[in-house]
């Protein structure tokens, strides 16, 4: 069979980084081809080159047998390539329909026939079982619904080759299943699909073939029926991977965090937490599993005092902290690794030392009596911390922006842990960082628990929850669906709870 | 004492400068001074230098620079230069500083010369008072500077002298250049019943003439010959022969007759002049000319400040 896509010897460099080095990739008609690789392996870059967003430094691309040279996404779209990006490319303030038709030419001259588009969109949505409301605003949609919009957007452009960059990271296991059945249906109709993921089981489940990238190079392309998880992991990382970090048995101490009937509305006034209750003791890790967008952000922000709950109580070491300012809560012993290091965790244009004192800049010894900063002691402390936490950086006075994502995250972790918190609130602590950094951060979190701190771990990566937690709670639509201890938990049950289906009540 | 007059043949060696607070194409105050500079060149053969658009903060430095370079005569075009001249002049005794529109001089080297602008406003007011039918007039000023305010007040006094029942609307627009504001202000006055409009605010006046044209009411030109700006609308212009004033000063200076005192000129000295159109009946012209004669003879008092 003739491949629909052939990428030959693609090389793409960024200043100081070779993101792709002589990459070869072939994709056949009707094939689901997985692209596997660690963070920073160059998967997104390769796809962006294919999609015309980046220009390769060298190499050739053949699509449907013809040599192509896409100068912009427009060319790629016209040729029949669709791409769903790692970060959704949707406009929150536009309607679903507008998001789907944006970039398309007008129907009568420059005017759109919205009624016609609406009809066609719904038709496609029905055909593939992708339920969407064309008139809803994207900002009001769940992440899963947003992804459906992205898929319809690509299908609507009559894509023959669909690229999906980490589509499952934000879905429930059930939604993943649905997505995969959609993908299979599409491939049976002749659509070719490139699926990027870190998740080995998904590759084995849905893909026909898989190409593994490491450090910008192709390590191997193989048929999934010839592969297993262990092999793939080894190809991906280049060594054996320690999937589960070692930890000692749990010795819970007194209750550190107690949340009762917490109700929180998000910025747009929608109820995000709806009577949530939980407790965390010293020396234990409570893992909150759940699909993104079920109130995790709001839970963390409410604990940290960044949003004000509508009702309910939060006790930190027995003291109520609802309505207290973030600073007060921090001083009472909260360490907070925020969900989004770029949004909250770091001031990217601050130096590393400035970022390291972000929570304590006003305290002695960093700040003297008259409000002057003590730059020398800040610098030496920062330098020390960077070494201790193995942050790869030339020195403490470079901007945080210049560090890789993993090292940026290490800075945040170092800052929060070095303050020896009584409660460590870790939200997506390893999102988008590479395996080495993940291992390291996990170690640090476990160390905190061993020191006696209470740890509330919120993560959408079930594997992370399973690897670290002593107890697991599942959050769904702003409520805790159920709780269980982490010895041989029923993964299937967790999956169902993540989808909002409650089987048993109360475990503990 | 001043320098002794030079010999006739050396007249061209005089270094004379003109310092202007605004751009020379403002169609008003600065433009007439620039015309004066050209007249001096044409009639006396003397090349005057000029600097335009000098900001308040630069007055002193600019005057000082001319003093430093040994200029003989420096015109400072506006009473706002008074402070700066008072500060700078004592350091440059060889330079004579002439402040336009100032009525004061100070020995040995500061003089002032002004046009009695109120006399212009008075005549305009007389004309307006004589031709109004609605007994309502509009007068627009830029800023309530003494000269402008005096002009507007004189305009009102004159109109009331014709007919005490006449009402005058007076407005300031706080601009020399916002022509649209001038127009809208004039329109508002016309809509409020004014049938003769008068404006002392450089370019803004063009706006009021435009408004008069639109509303079919009359306007009185001011400073520049504006009868042709809107024929049929502008019935007469009160002209400023400012160029003559410059020429007069330069002549006096060359003759060694310029004294460190305040001069003022008006109808009597020929610095103000009428430019009529046929729109004005002869009897009105006669009455106005009689008023001008009274002004020349000093029989009319300036408005109270």
């Amino acid at each position: 069979m003739q491949p629909i896509l052939k990428m030959i010897n693609i090389t793409k460099t960024f200043p100081g980084v070779v993101a792709n080095r002589n990459v070869n990739l072939e994709v056949y008609h009707g094939e689901i081809h997985a692209l596997l690789g660690e963070n920073g392996a160059g998967k997104s870059t390769l796809m962006n080159v294919l999609y015309g967003l980046y220009q390769a430094d060298s190499g050739e691309i053949y699509f449907e047998g013809k040599r192509v040279n896409f100068e912009s996404a427009k060319d790629a779209i016209r040729a029949g390539i669709g791409m769903i990006h790692q970060h959704f490319m949707l406009i929150p303030v536009h309607t679903v329909l507008d998001n789907i038709i944006m970039g398309l030419p007008g129907d009568r001259g420059i005017f759109y026939d919205r009624a016609l588009h609406r009809e066609r969109v719904l038709e496609i949505a029905h055909r593939y079982g992708l339920e969407i409301d064309p008139d809803a605003y994207v900002q009001d949609l769940s992440v899963g619904a947003q992804q459906r919009v992205e898929i319809v957007k690509a299908l609507y452009r009559k894509a023959k080759l669909l690229i999906m960059d980490e589509p499952t990271a934000v879905l429930t296991p059930q939604e993943v299943k649905e997505l995969f059945s959609t993908l299979k249906k599409l491939s049976q109709e002749g659509m070719s699909i490139i699926l990027i993921t870190h998740k080995l089981n998904e590759v084995l489940e849905v893909a026909d073939r898989v190409t593994v990238l490491r450090d910008g190079q192709v390590i191997k392309t193989l048929n999934t029926k010839d592969a297993d998880e262990k092999l793939l992991a080894q190809l991906m990382v280049g060594r054996e991977v320690n999937f589960v970090p070692a930890k000692s048995p749990c010795q819970p101490g007194p209750v550190v965090l107690e949340i009762k009937d917490l109700v929180v509305k998000n910025q747009r006034g929608i109820t995000a937490l709806n009577g949530l209750s939980l407790t965390v003791r010293g020396g234990e890790i409570l893992g909150i599993a759940g699909v993104d967008g079920n109130g995790q952000t709001e839970l963390a922000e409410a604990i940290a005092g960044l949003i004000k709950p509508v009702a309910g109580t939060i006790l930190l070491n027995g003291e109520p902290i609802v309505g207290k300012k973030p600073r007060v809560i921090t001083e009472k012993g909260l360490g907070h690794i925020p969900e989004d290091r770029h949004k909250r965790g770091l001031v990217l244009d601050f130096t590393l030392s400035e970022n390291i004192i972000l929570q304590s800049y006003y305290c002695e010894p960093w700040c003297g009596k008259f409000g002057f900063l003590n730059l020398n002691s800040i610098k030496s402390m920062a330098q020390e911390l960077l070494e201790k936490y193995k942050v790869k950086a030339p020195h403490s006075e470079v901007a945080a922006r210049t560090l890789s994502g993993g090292n940026q995250q290490k800075v945040v972790v170092a800052r929060e842990i070095s303050r020896r918190p009584k409660l460590l609130l870790a939200v997506q602590p390893t999102r988008g960082v590479d395996v080495g950094a993940i291992e390291y951060i996990h170690e640090q979190i476990i160390k905190e628990r061993e020191r006696g701190a209470a740890v509330l771990l919120i993560s959408t990566e079930l594997s992370e929850i399973l690897a670290l937690s002593d107890r697991i709670a599942v959050i769904y639509k702003g409520q805790i669906m159920g709780e269980m201890t982490n010895d041989n938990p029923d993964i299937n049950e967790i999956g169902l709870m993540m989808a909002g289906i409650r089987k048993k009540k109360e475990a503990s | 004492k001043n320098e002794e007059p030079k010999k006739e043949g050396e007249a061209k060696k005089y270094k004379i400068a003109l310092v202007l607070p605004g751009p020379i194409n403002d169609q008003g105050w600065n433009a007439t001074a620039y015309a004066g500079l050209q007249l001096v060149k044409k009639d006396l053969g003397i090349d005057m230098e000029y600097i335009e658009n000098v900001q308040q903060a630069d007055f002193e430095a600019t005057l000082r620079d001319y003093g430093e370079k040994g200029y003989d005569l420096v015109f400072a075009h506006g009473v706002q230069f008074t402070d700066a001249v008072n500060k700078v002049a004592p350091q440059y005794p060889k330079t004579f500083f002439m402040v336009i529109n100032s009525d004061q001089g100070k020995a040995p080297n500061i003089g002032g010369i002004g046009i009695r602008e109120w006399e212009g406003g008075y005549v305009a007011g007389t004309i307006a008072g004589l031709i109004t039918k609605t007994k309502k007039l509009g007068a627009i000023g830029s800023f309530p500077f003494p000269v402008i305010k005096g002009t507007l007040d004189a305009f009102e006094n004159a109109a009331k002298a014709v007919d005490p029942s006449i009402k005058v609307m007076k407005t300031y627009v706080n601009s020399w250049e916002d022509i649209q504001k001038g127009k809208e202000t004039a329109l508002a006055m016309a809509e409020n019943g004014a049938d003769v409009l008068f404006c002392s605010a450089n370019q803004v006046g063009l706006g009021s003439i435009e408004a008069a044209k639109m509303k079919g009411v009359k306007a009185i030109g001011y400073i520049a010959p504006q009868n042709e700006v809107a024929p049929g609308t502008v019935v007469a212009s009160v002209l400023y022969k400012t160029p003559n004033l410059f020429k007069w000063v330069v002549e006096q200076f060359i003759a060694g007759k310029l004294e460190p005192k305040g001069y003022s000129q008006g109808w009597a000295e020929g610095v103000l002049e009428m430019d009529w159109t046929d729109e004005v009946p002869q009897e009105v012209k006669d009455k106005v000319n009689a008023v001008i004669e009274d002004l020349k003879a000093g029989k009319i008092a300036p408005p109270k400040p």
């Binding site: 420059i110 | 194409n25 407005t171 409020n192 010959p225």
Partner: protein, 311 residues
């Protein structure tokens, strides 16, 4: 005092409001397109000024005010190109660029004007737009002669409001513009040429501002005088924000500015004994109050003022 608030007063007030709001409306509509695509345009003042001059030059050279408008558009485009190149192609801070454009334009207009017409004490007059009565409407009692005998640019300006709405919300261009202003990268991924759209929108703002300037020089007058725009461009920038980046909002904002100005002029002319400066302040104070209480928080296009570098 009491006799001033007559029916006639309100009608003439309305007419003045319309005239005073037109230049602001025109420039602000252009500014809206620019800002909707993500480019702050604080150079509207300069673009209006050059439009005012070029309009007069065009009419002077050809005798036709319509060709004057074309010249004005050309002048606006000239400055807009500079703004677009600096902000879109180079990613220079939008605010400084706009300020530089304004400074440049003050010098350029004065220079060109003197070079062409010399220094005069009476203005050079050119052919301008004549009032155009709308048959039928002009015969309406009371308001007809006042509201429907404006020059054609006035009608045009108000027609542009629904047209701008139509373009922004109903067409492929409008959707592309809004997408670029919210999320240029997303626009890129669906094949919208971000650079092209931003250039077009900035040029559009130049065109609109040019016409706004020509409205002053050829619609309200038949001449150019130095600095005749007198801050209306800055008010237009304010109107864009005040109007929440929407054509209808901008219409309302422009009318409010126009009304406040028309009202203060009238009150001043009547002579109330209140210092005239208080009236001059009125439009600006009204805006401050409106911005704080009534309009409150406005959400700008998400990518406003941010440059986009593709790679």
């Amino acid at each position: 005092m009491e006799q001033i608030f007559t029916l006639g007063f309100f009608i003439t007030l309305l007419a003045a409001t319309i005239r005073l709001s037109v230049p602001i409306l025109l420039a602000a509509l252009g500014g809206m397109f620019s800002e909707r695509s993500g480019v702050i345009n604080i150079g509207l003042e300069g673009m209006m000024l050059i439009g005012a001059l070029f309009g007069v030059i065009g009419s002077y050279v050809t005798g036709s005010p319509w060709i004057g408008i074309l010249f004005a558009i050309g002048g606006g485009i000239l400055l807009a190109l500079i703004h677009a190149y600096m902000t879109v192609s180079l990613g220079v801070d939008h605010v400084v660029t706009g300020i530089a454009v304004n400074i440049l334009s003050v010098g350029l207009t004065s220079f060109i004007f003197r070079a062409m017409f010399g220094i005069t004490t009476t203005p050079v007059k050119v052919n301008a737009f004549k009032p155009l009565a709308i048959p039928g409407l002009k015969d309406l009692p009371l308001i007809g002669p006042i509201l429907f005998q404006q020059n054609i640019l006035v009608y045009l300006a108000f027609l542009l409001v629904p047209l701008a709405s139509l373009i922004l919300y109903r067409t492929s261009w409008g959707l592309a513009i809004r997408t670029v202003g919210e999320h240029p990268k997303a626009a890129d991924t669906v094949g919208i040429n971000v650079v092209k759209i931003r250039y077009l929108c900035v040029l559009l703002s130049g065109i609109f501002a040019g016409v706004a300037g020509a409205f002053l020089s050829l619609g309200q007058f038949n001449m150019f005088v130095d600095n005749m725009v007198s801050g209306r461009g800055f008010i237009a920038v304010a109107a864009v924000i005040f109007g929440k980046w929407k054509p209808s909002g901008i219409l309302a904002a422009s009318l409010i500015f126009g009304l406040a100005d028309a009202l203060q002029i009238r009150l001043q002319a009547v002579g109330t004994g209140i210092p005239y400066q208080v009236f001059l302040m009125l439009p600006y104070i009204v805006t401050v109050i409106a911005m704080s209480g009534l309009v409150g928080k406005t959400t700008a296009p998400a990518a406003l003022g941010k440059s986009y570098e593709k790679n």
